[in-house]
């Protein structure tokens, strides 16, 4: 099947000038050669720690920033080279939901104005009354009533504001949404409400979703596939269950072991990272994770490992950027083995 989004060797570098008269130039390689395909109707979780480039990748896919190089094939067409005007028809097809809805909603605009504004640009054929009706319907879809229309963002709780942020993204009937940490600022019980809302709109509207977050449990709940980023590169990408039960990259193993679980009883063994995070201006040669990896070999410094099919029968859609296939990494969840017919010895 042809993916809705196919990004090929995508790079987003930010040059930094320093030295005498700013002549030496270095670059922060926020996204450095990412290949990622997203199928129609799929939810892909993008996890990583701060500085991994996950938000930049999301913004670049949205063409909020022009990539340094590489392509973003959106529904068969490379949109990375398009002009502002050329992008216009695509803007309607993809939308973004941000972490803090308070800073992405205009505090002086009523909810109604915030919701109908995108339609003025993207659907100028609609009358004011039609725009209002659309807005009311969308509000209802996200669990708010029309009585919210005349109110301002500050009158709502964090969870309600995030619903408004989602409603605004839905106004232009997009097919693809990038949600950047949309539940990170919310309390647990509210976080669950918003996650359920994402699941339900994804179902009813058939949305394709890139869910960017640092929270592995959230990704485990919402995503069909998970990509793990470190220093601008994808370390591992796998169907969600497989990532939790059979991680193939040491960084994934470390992340999974570090995430605290709400369970009493003996603590899981923690896989510690060595050393300190490298400078993004001067990432390690070869594998970027090798300076922190417990399994690094001299070869790891030689060449940057490309994403390749994960070893040991992990399935065709499981990829890792680790050279080693002799590792037995600790899973976050052990699958209770299904009864099997024993093969006679």
């Amino acid at each position: 099947m042809k993916p809705l989004i196919d990004c090929i060797d995508l790079k987003q570098h930010y040059p930094i000038r320093h030295g005498l008269l700013g002549r030496q130039s270095l670059a922060v390689k926020a996204v450095d050669g990412v290949n990622l395909q997203i199928q129609r109707g799929e939810v892909v979780g993008l996890v990583g720690e701060s500085g991994s480039g996950k938000s930049t990748l999301g913004r670049t896919l949205m063409m909020m920033e022009k990539p340094t190089s590489g392509s973003v094939i959106y529904d068969g067409k490379d949109i990375a080279g398009l002009t502002h005007a050329g992008l216009h028809p695509y803007r309607r097809r993809m939308q973004m939901v941000f972490q803090d809805p308070f800073s992405s909603l205009n505090p002086r605009m009523t909810v109604e104005d915030s919701l109908t504004m995108p339609l003025r640009f993207h659907a100028p054929e609609l009358s004011a009354a039609q725009r209002r009706d659309e807005a009311a319907e969308t509000l209802e879809r996200v669990g708010l009533s029309r009585s919210a229309f005349e109110r301002f963002p500050h009158e709502f709780s964090g969870g309600q504001r995030q619903r408004i942020g989602i409603a605004r993204a839905l106004m232009v009937k997009p097919e693809f949404i990038v949600a950047d940490e949309p539940v990170s600022a919310l309390d647990v019980s509210v976080q669950a409400q918003v996650l359920n809302l994402f699941s339900s709109i994804r179902q009813t509207l058939g949305l394709t979703l890139l869910f960017v977050t640092h929270d592995l449990a959230v990704v485990g709940h919402i995503a069909d596939r998970v990509a793990v980023m470190y220093l601008g590169q994808i370390m591992e990408i796998a169907p969600t269950r497989a990532l939790f039960t059979a991680p193939a990259h040491p960084y994934t193993e470390t992340l999974l072991s570090a995430a605290p679980q709400p369970k009493a009883g003996p603590r899981r063994a923690r896989i510690a990272m060595r050393g300190e995070p490298p400078s993004p201006l001067n990432p390690p040669s070869g594998c970027v994770f090798r300076t922190r990896c417990a399994h690094a070999l001299p070869e790891c410094a030689q060449e940057r490992p490309a994403l390749r099919p994960a070893p040991a029968g992990r399935g065709a859609s499981h990829f890792t950027a680790c050279l080693r296939d002799d590792l037995s990494l600790t899973p976050a969840v052990t699958e209770t083995p299904s009864p099997r017919i024993r093969t006679p010895v």
Binding site: E49, V188, L216, L243, P262, A264, V333
Partner: protein, 337 residues
């Protein structure tokens, strides 16, 4: 059991503003024993941070804020102390770390000097002794190359390293009680894991007690032996880690636990997460009866909206629960642990 190092009785906090008085903490009681870690869990607006600020006497002075009740530490009521007397407690007896280490550090001073200042304020020590102590502390909190790092400014360090500096500063005078208010919330998971390991390890070495304030049940499970759940300014459930996480009796606690996505279910469609409808009521508009009743799936009209339940032991083995329906509810956690 040993005598508690801190005893809070009937702690009540009211704020005054706009000609109104708003009560945000309603008669909180608890004890902390030497060497134990007590977690105080709640959502925003539950009063957990205000409670911890009151213990340190960091809330504004009267008349803007009125604190009643007792906070006893070794026979002294901290609420009865003058400000200079209280200053002698902060540091040597009771110390606090916060979510954002940058707010606890002065951006224009070297971190080593800031730790040294905390020591100098309370102890008569000469420069070399203080320097040695600063190095020892930095080493203790796992900062590599402390001789060089003590000369650094806060902005030159990563978030995790800064939080280590703040912990070093808090522990400089070997307090009996460390209050940690969401100390890992702003950190990446791998760094959070390191800081939690560090706090646990330091506690083992120094025998200090910890009051750990967080909204994250995962963190609670990592660090605490005992848990208090707070809602709308009251403790609503209290017990051992196992009791609260696996045998919750208060519908609020079980609702919170059901709303946390679990690793076990990752990638398996287990249907929607459990939610608690509505939101935390504003402290000046608390509903009559049990504050949780408008959101409670177990709400019984004529009972829960009539009077505030007391915190009473329920379950087997029993632990304190504030719920009128606790006797006739057998709440199994909605997510099997």
């Amino acid at each position: 059991m040993s005598d508690p190092i801190l005893s809070v009785r009937n702690l009540t906090i009211r704020f005054k503003g706009d000609g109104r008085e708003t009560q945000v903490v309603h008669g909180v009681d608890f004890d902390i024993h030497p060497g134990e870690t007590l977690a105080l869990v709640g959502e925003s607006g539950s009063g957990k941070s205000v409670t911890s600020f009151a213990l340190m006497r960091l809330l504004p002075e009267a008349p803007r804020c009125r604190i009643d009740g007792q906070i006893r530490m070794g026979g002294t009521d901290l609420l009865a102390l003058t400000e200079p007397q209280m200053a002698a407690y902060r540091g040597p007896r009771i110390a606090m770390i916060f979510q954002e280490p940058l707010t606890s550090l002065n951006p224009v001073h070297r971190v080593g000097d800031q730790i040294a200042e905390a020591i100098r304020f309370h102890r008569k020590m000469d420069r070399t002794a203080i320097r040695a102590r600063v190095l020892e502390l930095l080493r203790m909190v796992g900062i590599p190359d402390p001789e060089r790092r003590m000369m650094a400014y806060p902005h030159e360090m990563s978030g995790g390293m800064r939080q280590r500096v703040v912990i070093a500063m808090a522990l400089a005078l070997e307090p009996e009680l460390l209050i940690a208010d969401e100390p890992t919330t702003a950190l990446d998971v791998t760094v959070q894991a390191q800081i939690l390991d560090l706090l646990r390890d330091l506690q083992k070495r120094t025998g200090m007690a910890m009051l750990f304030i967080t909204h994250d049940f995962g963190v609670v499970a990592e660090i605490a032996e005992r848990v208090m759940v707070m809602y709308s300014g009251r403790i609503v459930e209290e017990g051992s880690l196992g009791a609260v996480l696996e045998r919750p009796r208060m519908p609020y606690t079980s609702g919170l636990l059901a709303s946390v996505p679990r690793f076990e279910d990752a990638g398996q469609s287990k249907g929607p997460l459990g939610t608690i409808e509505g939101f935390v009521p504003s402290p000046d508009k608390l509903p009559a009866g049990c504050s949780f009743h408008p959101r409670c799936p177990q709400f019984r009209p004529g009972l829960c909206d009539q009077r505030m339940p007391e915190l009473l032991p329920h379950g087997r083995p029993a632990h304190p629960v504030r719920c009128l329906r606790a006797p006739d509810l057998s709440l199994v956690p909605e997510v099997p642990a």
